[in-house]
């Protein structure tokens, strides 16, 4: 009876007293018990007493990526270095969710330290894609994506540095929203690339994404990079009928799998049918973003991992996995005396160009359309075969991440292997309302080609 119910629907059922919060919680715990052993989406379940403070979320459970510090609840970032870390404080995002009455049902698996795009670098084993457990759900927020896709939670929270929400949402066949950098507080999120990191929701519907965003967004006095711009009523804004101009840049259609390309073309046609205009635009090649992203992110990773020096948290630096070690080495190199100008400084200059490039294009169009990932879910084991494979796979996500603009990934069909295909819309800074509005119209028109419905249906009670 509850299978596939969205957060919005569950709230309504609880409000009408057709079901209790406790029943909802127990329902999901039962499902986690049943399906998690095969999927490995959750690392830690919340057995701490549920003390909901607010009432808007009515105790509805959410899956939260394991890089959000949760007070008294183990938080590992999927690294054995933090195997026993129980935070003494709460991240702003989880605090806001708790304040709204949500229940953090558990902490989800991810690439260790969010280093990866497949959840395979987790020290606790990979998460499996609910559509095909021989495949990756994507990453690094793969645990949350798989949990929502298989309906082990009606929604969840992930974080993205460059693609870590959009790409697993795409591969797992759900909705993933990456807000503008600074729209959602990073306080209490175990840092990967501090100038890029961005928490966001992964959900079954656009309305749920808008709703969760409205709960977690806003200025945080504990995060100096959070924006003071007032947040909007995303759910209301989303439902106003508007038409937009969609920008199409050829560079964002290069090297796509044919099924993905076809699904994207079909999506453009649907937007046209909805009355949207399209316009060809010329953007910097996303290939530049790969190098820029790699240099800046590695430098920040080196810095952010320096605190795990073996003195605190109970584990030595030898517990770092191969990927973390590689990134620390590269970051150290690019920032070394004599190399800074050639790498980091140059990368920052190109980053400025990327930002200017987007600002220029967003004077003419409302969105840039594309896909978060040129192919659908890969088999487990593929990523580790090629160094920087993740960086190459995420090339359509990296320019937006470098610029800090918002973007969404929504399902637009299945490929020949019955695997979900994602479409992404990128917009100008703080235009989350517009992204949600357009996506909501698309959802109403297509119901996402029943991708989400089919995904959930694979995991019957």
């Amino acid at each position: 009876m509850l299978l596939g119910k969205t957060i919005t629907q569950l709230r309504s059922l609880i409000e009408k007293k057709e079901i209790t919060s406790k029943e909802v919680k127990e329902y999901f715990l039962k499902r986690i018990k049943k399906f998690n052993p095969a999927l490995n989406a959750f690392l830690t379940l919340n057995d701490v007493e549920d003390k909901s403070i607010g009432d808007r979320m009515l105790g509805i459970p959410l899956a939260v990526k394991d890089n959000f510090c949760t007070k008294n609840l183990r938080t590992t970032a999927s690294s054995k270095v933090l195997d026993n870390f129980i935070p003494p404080y709460e991240s702003t995002v989880t605090q806001k969710l708790k304040n709204a009455g949500a229940y953090i049902i558990g902490k989800t698996n991810m690439d260790a330290w969010a280093h990866g795009s497949s959840t395979e670098t987790s020290d606790y084993g990979p998460t499996k894609n609910p559509w095909d457990i021989t495949r990756s759900p994507g990453g690094s927020s793969g645990g949350t994506a798989a949990a929502v896709s298989a309906y082990l939670a009606p929604g969840g929270i992930g974080s993205e540095t460059a693609g870590s929400i959009r790409q697993p949402a795409s591969w797992s066949g759900i909705v993933g929203l990456k807000p503008t950098y600074g729209r959602v507080s990073r306080f209490g999120v175990i840092a990967m690339g501090s100038s890029l990191d961005c928490p966001g929701p992964l959900t079954l519907t656009i309305e749920d994404a808008a709703y969760l965003l409205s709960l977690i967004a806003g200025k945080d006095i504990q995060d100096a990079t959070s924006s003071p711009l007032p947040i909007e009523d995303y759910v209301t804004q989303m439902k106003k009928k508007k038409t937009y101009t969609i920008g199409i840049s050829d560079d964002y259609f290069e090297g796509l799998d044919t099924d993905v390309a076809k699904a994207l073309q079909n999506s453009i046609d649907i937007f046209k049918k909805l009355g949207f205009k399209t316009k060809k635009v010329k953007l910097l090649s996303p290939n530049y973003a790969i190098s820029v992203y790699t240099i800046i992110q590695r430098a920040e990773v080196m810095s952010n991992l320096a605190r795990y020096d073996g003195i605190r948290y109970g584990n030595e630096r030898t517990m770092f996995g191969t990927e973390a070690k590689r990134r620390v080495m590269l970051g150290t190199y690019t920032l070394s005396y004599g190399y800074y100008d050639a790498f980091y400084k140059k990368a920052q200059k190109v980053r400025t160009l990327i930002i200017e490039d987007f600002k220029r294009v967003f004077k003419d169009v409302d969105f840039i359309i594309g896909t978060p990932t040129p192919i659908t879910a890969l088999k487990l084991g593929e990523f580790s075969k090629y160094p920087f494979f993740g960086e190459l796979m995420d090339k359509f996500n990296e320019p937006g991440a470098m610029a800090g603009i918002p973007a969404i990934s929504v399902p637009v069909g299945l490929d020949r292997n019955n695997l979900p295909i994602g479409m992404q819309l990128m917009a100008n800074y703080f235009h989350e309302s517009d992204i949600l509005n357009a996506s909501y119209q698309f959802e109403k028109e297509t119901n996402f080609f029943d991708v989400i419905k089919k995904g959930v249906a694979r995991y019957r009670d």
Binding site: P87, P88, Y89, G188, Q222, D223, A224
Partner: protein, 464 residues
Amino acid sequence: MKTYQPVIGLEIHVELKTQTGMFCQCKVNQFDAKPNTHVCPVCLGLPGALPVPNKQAIEWTIKIGQALNCAINKHTKFDRKHYSYPDLPKGYQISQYDEPVAVGGHVSFEANYGTYKNEKRSFRIHRVHLEEDTGKLTHSGEDTLIDFNRSGTPLVEIVTEPDFTTSDDVKMFLEELHTIIRYLDVSDADMEKGTMRMEPNISVREILNPKSQNPNKPQITNFKLPSYKVEVKNINSFNFVKKAIDYEVKRHIEQLEQGKTPLQETRGWDSYKNITYSQRSKEEAHDYRYFPEPDIPPFEFSAEYIESIRKTLPELPQPKMFRFINKLKLKPIDAFTLTRGKEMSEYYEKAMSKINSLKSDINVKSEKLGQEIANFIINKKISIKLPIEDFVKRAVEMIQPIETDIKLLDEIVQKVISANQKSVSDYKSGKQNAIMFLVGQVMREMRGKADANTVISKLKEMLK
């Protein structure tokens, strides 16, 4: 014989006395607190914690820069400085690299003021920047304990140009700087507590043509710095700085005499043995891998904002000293002494303004008033711990000539002379001091209600 000249620059760290931390809300400067009782996720560097800069600390750093005649950068930012040490919980210190708060100033002052050696001095300030202090390590037996209470205390670093050639100049400069900081009221600059710490960078160069140069006045603009320098870390007394410099200069000259170049290294100061010792050589020097702190957006200060801070600058010790000399007609040495302490000089000024408002009621020559009050304070005749009203009351009593009852004085002088014939004959036989005994006797009989000068002249008159 070759002539050598020391080349010395200084790095000075000053902990600001803000209420809260540089990047967190913890109470700082809690010197007597139990270890690790004033800590939070931010100053402990816990995973996910983020720094939020302290506005007061930034404004105070601007103020220090202005007091040291620096230009204030309109664009400034924080950077991460990476090194690994147990007292540094994040593995990097949030500091400033290429855009410090203030650059290019100078400290100019009168050296040895009021003495025959009196000379002007001016030393250039390279930069002033803001960073966070580290935790504190305590070694006990096999164990090293870490106290993070100090972690995240706002810390200002002041760097001079290598303008010093003598340890005496260094000491005088540091005393002047210390006085300025105390005047600004932004730090206790208490060396015992470690809220002011000093690091001299020392090298010695050979002067090839000594006659063309006055070794006391280096040509600071146009010479090549020696190829090495030795940094002596974390000294907490002006005297130790002087001793460390003297020790190093002698050591370097000995090596240079043997045709060797002293090793570039970091050394420590052993205040028991009065020697420096090697801590870290150049090969072990850190590559700090600086990059802009992504957690804190850069700052843009408007000219108005910077000027509004300048308006809060108090009168600094040197201008105050000259005002005391020129306006209040104090002896230079006394003006210098009084202005060394902000509290003392402020107390003096308060006392003076109170006394001036009473002037019409008291009978005292006004041109000497300032100096007399200064004398009371400097010679500790009256404690400046007294409430200002009590101080003024006592001072007025001491300044005012005492009304002498002449009739009574005549009687008592007669009485004292006849009762002390021995002293009278001593005086008459030429022992001038003998009169002081008689003065004392008269004063006692008068119960102090007589002006000493009147008593002396009366006695002299009677003994003629």
